[in-house]
């Protein structure tokens, strides 16, 4: 028998840690989604693809996705800001660079993300922007016709997107006090999940039928990799110390089991994988059902990992 009685009384850590509320999973989701957009649209620019329409769309090479990325990351940063408890001091992030702090890296990566997304928008400026600033039209034509500019922008977009996507996972995995997060797989997992949600969105919203087909196929690949990473994460935790195995059991019979297996794995990965597999083989039509499920599943993944991770702890006795 082992019992522990404590007089400790702190609203944030007792009886279990709940330092972070919904703002952080929302931020991690939107960060991953933006990272996915940067990688996929960067890839399209690298390949030399052009927007085939006269107006901005949600096709990969158009400014629509980059603009959406700007909105998503801004919303994510707003959520992050709302979570801070000493808001007036947020500028302190940009007075230093702490190489061992993933959050410090993240702050600087987020600063890089904006000009890259903006460059993506300027390679295919939306009409309203041209009306607002007609001088951009000439600039756009010059830049858009320059293959080197498109390829360079694509390359920078891909690398910045990968850094952003991986960072959202490493942010948690660097906090070894929470055994569920103590895995190097969280970085790749959140990156692949971000790629999956953005591919799902492009599958849903792209006006180009060939691109939608390609995105559905690619999303199936990402979902399969994500499933493998989730399995590896659980196996790694179960074969580690008792604290880590206990953390894995939060998702394997513990309080987060239902939302993980039904919300994340069942509805967020397996069901859309089946639907999209049928769609790419021409047996059912492409519908928004699978993409919406993938996007909600990506959000649920962040919620489960953040909340269950805070619940997990080293044994106190």
């Amino acid at each position: 028998m082992s019992e522990l009685y404590s007089t400790a009384h702190s609203a944030i850590t007792d009886p279990s840690l709940h330092a972070w509320g919904p703002e952080i999973p929302v931020y991690l989701f939107l960060g991953g989604f933006t990272a996915g957009i940067m990688v996929l649209s960067g890839w399209a620019l690298w390949q030399g693809r052009r927007n085939q329409r006269a107006h901005a769309t949600f096709s990969l090479a158009s400014s629509g996705l980059f603009t959406l990325g700007l909105g998503a990351i801004s919303l994510g940063m707003l959520a992050l800001f709302l979570d801070l408890s000493h808001k007036a001091y947020v500028w302190r992030l940009y007075l230093t660079m702490k190489p061992w702090s993933p959050m410090s890296w993240g702050a600087w990566i987020l600063l890089l993300v904006y000009p890259v997304l903006l460059a993506g928008v300027l390679l295919d400026p939306p009409r309203w922007l041209l009306r607002f600033a007609p001088a951009l039209d000439a600039l756009w034509r010059r830049l858009a016709d320059d293959g080197r500019v498109r390829r360079s922008t694509g390359f920078v977009s891909i690398t910045t997107g990968v850094a952003l996507g991986i960072y959202t996972g490493i942010l948690l995995s660097a906090l070894g006090a929470r055994p569920l997060w103590s895995s190097a797989l969280l970085g790749p997992l959140f990156l692949v999940s971000g790629l999956s949600t953005s591919a799902a969105f492009a599958h849903w919203a792209s006006p180009e039928p060939a691109e939608r087909e390609q995105m559905a196929w690619l999303d199936n690949l990402f979902l399969t990799i994500e499933l493998g990473l989730l399995g590896s994460l659980l196996i790694g935790l179960l074969s580690s110390t008792e604290a880590h195995a206990e953390a894995a059991r939060l998702l394997l019979g513990g309080p987060y089991t239902a939302v993980f297996w039904v919300g994340v794995v069942g509805l967020g990965i397996l069901l859309p994988l089946v639907i999209q597999s049928l769609a790419v083989t021409g047996r059912v039509a492409h519908t928004p059902i699978a993409p919406v499920l993938v996007i909600l599943g990506g959000l649920a993944l962040r919620f489960v990992i953040v909340y269950a991770g805070q619940y997990s702890h080293w044994p106190r006795v």
Partner: protein
């Protein structure tokens, strides 16, 4: 540089919580929060039960995860005694340090910054003992330089069986419990 640490004799500690009250008074710790606390750990089966009473606080680790994860440098190792401190004017309240501490020793002060035990550095710099050590009625707490082989705390650790908390977490805590 000194490396300040603490040895607490669990055979003498009676869990009176004088250390808790002294800390709250000395450091003006707000209501509803603690920089130190008492844990009672029962182990074994009746009738061979064992009770260990521990006065716990920030372990001022040699490998402090709260310092390495802090994005602004607000959590830092102070040159005096290698004490782990928080500069409230640099803290943004991101709570990464709270999540990184396996001992759950930190909390968010109502004013927004991360807060925790400071080993009463304002007293120690004046040659005084931390408030918790100074008030302990059973004299179960010993405070001093772990790098000085002649300090009372070093001599006790050299001669008495002891343990630290969660050694597997890899943080190298500097508070030891004498058995």
């Amino acid at each position: 540089m000194a490396r300040l640490g603490m040895a607490i004799d669990t055979r003498k500690c009676v869990g009176c919580m004088d250390c808790v009250v002294a800390c709250k008074t000395e450091n003006d710790v707000p209501e509803g929060f603690n920089r130190d606390w008492i844990r009672y750990e029962y182990q074994g089966e009746w009738p061979t039960l064992r009770l260990e009473i521990r006065s716990e606080r920030c372990n001022h680790c040699d490998e402090p995860p709260c310092v390495s994860c802090c994005p602004t440098g607000a959590s830092h190792v102070h040159p005096f005694g290698a004490v782990v401190l928080v500069d409230k004017d640099e803290c943004i309240g991101c709570k990464a340090c709270v999540a990184s501490c396996p001992y759950d020793a930190r909390f968010i002060h109502p004013d927004g910054y991360a807060d925790k035990c400071t080993f009463c550095i304002h007293r120690v710099e004046q040659g005084l003992q931390p408030a918790c050590v100074a008030v302990c009625p059973t004299r179960c707490m010993y405070f001093g330089d772990l790098d000085d082989a002649h300090s009372e705390v070093s001599r006790l650790l050299a001669s008495r069986k002891h343990h630290s908390l969660l050694p597997g977490a890899g943080t190298e805590p500097r508070i030891f419990y004498l058995e």
